[in-house]
């Protein structure tokens, strides 16, 4: 499985690093400590950017390649942050023919991020999804739990404004 790396500068705080170092200290010397540490690190930061992987590698004395290898193997490890608002645009057939791609492109244009990326302020992340079974409302997008249907590209501005 291909995973996209983060396009955003790393914004970890000293407190987060302190927490992570404490986690590493607690697991040090334990057999097979890498995965539990990575799981806890993801809880602290929300994702595992390369900077965090480097701290883990150094702390546990394992090559950073290995940390990276593990992070890309398991589907639960995220290399990109998720935004406060997760935007998901359906690119299933029914939505696609009704102009979902234009809706998607408009979001890309407004937010300046591509699929599987997150805005710099951490507010929005964007992904394309497969059919969510709401073809009657096509084209459809969801923002967190909220569903928006029968969209045209021009609706996007007003909808996003509600969250900005």
């Amino acid at each position: 499985m291909k995973k996209r790396k983060s396009n955003l500068p790393f914004k970890g705080t000293p407190e987060q690093e302190k927490q992570l170092l404490a986690v590493i200290e607690a697991h040090k010397g334990e057999k097979g400590a890498l995965m539990p540490v990575m799981q806890e690190a993801q809880e602290i930061y929300g994702y595992l950017p390369i900077e965090v992987q480097q701290i883990i590698a150094k702390g546990l004395s394992v090559p950073v390649e290995e940390v990276y290898g593990v992070s890309t193997f398991y589907s639960q490890f995220a290399l990109t942050p998720k935004g406060e608002y997760k935007i998901s645009v359906c690119l299933g057939t029914a939505c696609y023919v009704k102009g979902a791609q234009e809706v998607f492109d408009r979001i890309v244009e407004i937010l300046g991020i591509e699929a599987d990326e997150c805005t710099e302020d951490g507010k929005f992340s964007l992904e394309a999804c497969r059919c969510i079974g709401a073809c009657g409302l096509a084209p459809v997008m969801t923002i967190n739990e909220e569903v928006y249907g029968r969209l045209v590209a021009d609706d996007v501005d007003d909808i996003l404004k509600k969250y900005m």
């Binding site: 097979g32 890498l34 539990p36 799981q39 073809c135 009657g136 096509a138």
Partner: protein
């Protein structure tokens, strides 16, 4: 002393339909009427009949309330618990007799034929309270083993019982343990495989959620038997309730001295650590699971050496599945003969199945080996809903196959299922009716294996991908008869050459559907038709112009603007009928679901 006990299911199924809020409301309502000291509310594990959740049972009457909502709670408290009047409208209809009396759950079709060994405590005890487990003979087997039995006695008992691994392979558990007893290793390990990944299987989750201590006890027994003092439970992170209850159980067992140092004062030390998976199906394979516990990418490695010789961290290790562990304490307490008295000649005991798909009673059932598929589906499962016709039962998840109706009366056990081209697997049993397309089902499972193949060996990584491509071609109506032969050949290459169980079994869904439903493949390839009406590319939607009343709802809702009014007015109608432009149609089916006179058909 409580005068009533209210058992409410706290398993994942019922929790998703708000059983936690029901428990909360129940406690609040009981307090409001001053019954909080008379009625005991217990959050249990899974009762099995998930289709009727959230489930509540009130003892001593044994009333089985189904599909309870938060709004119903007040009525149950006021009527039943306060005034002693059973709320009949909420009772599961099969527990009400013709004379309007309440009958026991054990007499209903769903429970009558079941034999609960691995699930004996699920839905009976509070899984977060070790005392309730102990009251049901919990940790008595560990006590017996540590004080009365030698390791070789335990092995003999396990061998005599005939218990075989419940995770899928069916390897004799006693033999596995025996292999791990030899050698002079300074360290050995006991592992529990709780990385249940087959879509549609949830028995391991339910055991962990409903009876976590049974796994801890069984692992300690195995630890004593092979001389290990450290255990690992590798559990999916997707099972948060199971993880939480395991944590509580491990802490409580420590507190009671049933884990840790010098257990029962016998000098035997044993401890268990939890390790969480991170979303990789291949980690259910034993060598991949151990590689993952070691903190690496969860890729399998060749066997031999077998884990019993060189397993976790290079040390002798035994690894059993959750359901296998759940049988162990009962075998120790009741004896090997008792266990071997259940089941068939080569498959002893019981097996838990997760019933799903097109079946009335979705849920968990535990049946003696040798029960027929017909009994499971028609009697226990309540048959196929909506008057549809049964087509096939899928067992073994992505590693298994589809069993057609002609094998309905085959007694279920390891060897019979393999003989008819499927396998036991971990026990998922998905029922399919005439509306399911078997090519599409095979494709669904292949999509899963392609996604989950770890990529280490070529036959699996590339082979499954090519297989999926051919299947996709067929479902799109572009397949040829030659493709079917090519696909079959490829299946055997993948089976023979893959490194681990994932690849070796990945072609099974294709092979079994080819074996029993070849005519459906032929229909896709030669007639360019999907008989079940599933494969979209092969479907066409048509409006019957005589039935169309001309309301236009279809055209209004069509996402592709493919429907337009014609000039034709059918006799007896006022408005002109509509027609679908096949070139524009995306076959989403929205028109059909909006058509009131049912004038639209797909074929």
């Amino acid at each position: 002393m409580y005068r009533s006990q209210v058992l409410i299911c706290g398993g994942t199924g019922c929790t998703s339909s708000h059983s936690a809020q029901i428990i909360e409301a129940m406690e609040k309502e009981l307090k409001a009427v001053g019954l909080e000291n008379d009625v005991n509310v217990v959050k249990t594990g899974c009762f099995g009949l998930c289709a009727l959740g959230p489930i509540m049972i009130v003892y001593p009457e044994g009333c089985f309330y189904s599909r309870v909502t938060v709004e119903d709670v007040k009525e149950i408290v006021d009527e039943h618990l306060l005034k002693g009047r059973i709320v009949k409208r909420l009772l599961y209809d099969e527990t009400v007799t013709d004379t309007n009396d309440v009958k026991s759950l054990n007499e209903t079709a769903f429970y009558k034929k079941q034999k609960r060994v691995a699930l004996r405590n699920c839905g009976v005890i509070d899984p977060e309270n070790i005392d309730e487990y102990i009251a049901r003979d919990g940790y008595a087997a560990l006590g017996k083993v540590l004080t009365e039995m030698k390791p070789e006695d335990v092995i003999q008992t396990m061998l005599d019982s005939g218990l075989r691994g419940r995770g899928g392979g069916g390897f004799p558990t006693g033999l596995k343990w025996k292999f791990a007893t030899g050698g002079n290793a300074d360290q050995k390990y006991v592992c529990c495989n709780a990385d249940e990944g087959d879509p549609g299987a949830f028995m391991d989750r339910s055991i962990l959620e409903g009876d976590p201590h049974v796994v801890l006890e069984a692992m300690a027994i195995a630890g004593y038997t092979i001389g290990a003092n450290q255990g690992y439970i590798y559990v999916r992170a997707e099972y948060p309730i199971a993880v939480e209850r395991l944590r509580i159980a491990i802490d409580q067992a420590h507190e009671y001295g049933l884990l840790g140092k010098d257990i029962f004062g016998t000098g035997f030390d044993f401890d268990i650590e939890l390790r969480l998976g991170a979303g990789a199906f291949v980690c259910g394979e034993e060598t991949a699971l151990m590689t993952s516990i070691e903190g690496h990418r969860g890729e399998p490695r060749p066997r031999p050496p077998f884990p019993a010789v060189k397993g976790l961290f290079g040390k002798p290790t035994i690894l059993n599945n959750v359901e296998t562990w759940a049988n162990v304490p009962q075998i120790i307490l009741n004896g090997a003969e008792w266990f071997a008295s259940m089941g068939t000649e080569k498959s002893k005991g019981t097996k838990v199945f997760a019933l799903g798909g097109k079946i009335k009673h979705t849920g968990l059932v535990e049946i003696p080996m040798g029960t027929t598929l017909r009994e499971v589906i028609e009697e226990i499962g309540g048959g196929i809903p909506n008057g549809k016709k049964f087509k096939a039962a899928q067992t073994g998840g992505p590693s298994g196959g589809c069993i057609p109706v002609e094998h309905f009366d085959v007694p279920i056990d390891y060897d019979n299922l393999i003989a008819i081209g499927s396998m036991m697997g971990s026990g998922g049993l998905i029922v399919m009716d005439e509306d399911n397309c078997m090519v599409d089902i095979a494709k669904f499972f292949l999509e899963f294996t392609v996604d989950e193949s770890c990529g280490k060996c070529t036959p699996c990584r590339v082979g499954t991908k090519r297989l999926l491509e051919i299947l996709t071609k067929i479902t799109e109506g572009k397949g040829t008869l030659e493709d079917i032969d090519k696909m079959e050949q490829l299946c055997y290459y993948i089976k023979e050459n893959s490194l681990c169980g994932l690849g070796q079994t990945a072609p099974n869904p294709v092979l079994s559907t080819l074996r029993y439903f070849r005519d459906e493949y032929i229909a896709h390839v030669v007639d360019k038709k999907c008989p079940a009406g599933v494969c979209k590319s092969l479907l066409s939607f048509n409006i019957d112009k005589e039935k169309c009343i001309g309301c236009g709802l279809c055209a209004k809702n069509c996402p592709a603007s493919a429907i337009e009014r014609t000039d034709y007015i059918a006799p007896g109608h006022k408005l002109a009928s509509f027609a679908i432009d096949k070139d524009k149609c995306v076959k989403c089916g929205v028109c059909m679901s909006n058509c009131r006179p049912k004038a639209i058909e797909k074929k």
